[in-house]
Symmetry: C2
Subunit: 268 residues, 2 copies
Amino acid sequence: MRTEHSSPADLAALSPAEVRARFRAGLVRPTSGLAAGYAQANLIIVPKSHAFDLLLFAQRNPKPMPLLGVLDAGEVTSDLLAGGDIRTDVPRYVVYEDGVPVAEPTDITGYWREDLVTFIVGCSFTFENALVAGGVPVAHQEQGVNVPMYRTSTRCAPAGEIAGPLVVSMRPVPASQVADAVRITSRYPAVHGAPVHVGAPGELGIADLAAPDFGDPVAIPDGHVPVFWACGVTPQAAVMESRPPLAIGHAPGHMLITDARDADYLVP
Amino acid sequence: MRTEHSSPADLAALSPAEVRARFRAGLVRPTSGLAAGYAQANLIIVPKSHAFDLLLFAQRNPKPMPLLGVLDAGEVTSDLLAGGDIRTDVPRYVVYEDGVPVAEPTDITGYWREDLVTFIVGCSFTFENALVAGGVPVAHQEQGVNVPMYRTSTRCAPAGEIAGPLVVSMRPVPASQVADAVRITSRYPAVHGAPVHVGAPGELGIADLAAPDFGDPVAIPDGHVPVFWACGVTPQAAVMESRPPLAIGHAPGHMLITDARDADYLVP
């Protein structure tokens, strides 16, 4: 593992292919702010034996699992990562065996099998840029931490052997700007779209906003309302519950940087 | 088969469940205009052995094959047809064996197997109502015929064993209203959305608009431009080319009438 010497500002100006090449060469760091303007994505990889069920799970749960692309079994590249390799181009992975995280490697070449199917899933980083551009503050960015994520008591629609809870991310929004946050994010349906829940965390089964299941807690200023969006970690929670023999995801905050532009996912 | 005694106006006022019950009891007729305000859908059913490939085909080709729902293997009902039965509630089906149409039954109970997976696919009838409401004439409705559909020279993105041409429907639109037609239909991405092509049919490999591959020809008035939308017959064209051992679709114009409202598929 190489030490990080580049500043985020340097890395922000690189192309997606250049950033992926750095990761392939050994760089390890969270991806927030890198290759500005390009869509980052969640990753989930399962054997072909479980791929139909996971694809059906995505079809039935498009808000937490909006698909940007699905590779053929054994395929390691696509036009979303031209010239890249899905086994090396994400800075850090999580490997699950029977639903249990067993390793967090920076390269999954040693785990690769010809029957593995890769799912590339939209990420809310895309609409966060639009929120900031629209004047809506993004607290976890301002506080320099990862977004807080919570397992909820809401169940996803199951599909075959795949079932699990809805996972949400939370951003506190000033009460006067909640409508703006809804309006702006609803225009990005491919990256989770409009919020699934505004206020009242108890209704989602969230007992303590200060204790997220993934990511970091953020302070909620007075006059701000917690707003919840469906989260791309949902398929990893489903894998933990449903226990396929093997699954591989990205490590939180360590996303796949794609060649698609954020603007490609904006609808009218 | 029962003779049709009800006028469309009578049937337009029925609920989706009531219309499905009529079909189940033996009524056979095209569904245009029935259960006004409710979404009609294309149907394609394949064995589980081909379901992953067809689901991946849909994911890769969302404009011609937007999924409203996918049933579990062997399942014959869903919340899109509450209390209904997918084997009896469509007025007429087409059965394909090795890609060849072999029957057009009004009930597929005799063909049913526990490994069959049903795909319910959005239909442009939904946005036609919005076009009319927006003042854009829909020529084939005015001329009392089925919409003309064409196999194009554009290939869909293949998925495993499933491949085929893009099929499009065509509506002539006054040149001054083409922008309106784009704007209105783009708000219905779940039912094919914005046009894939405006004018220049030769670029799609369509030699003669008067000779559609499915449906009926329509007259194109002076000053109107042929506008092409991706069509839900595309999976049936893929089945004909890809030749799974068994597949079942709806007969053209004889759609599944769902409990979803057209308005459910409107985005901001």
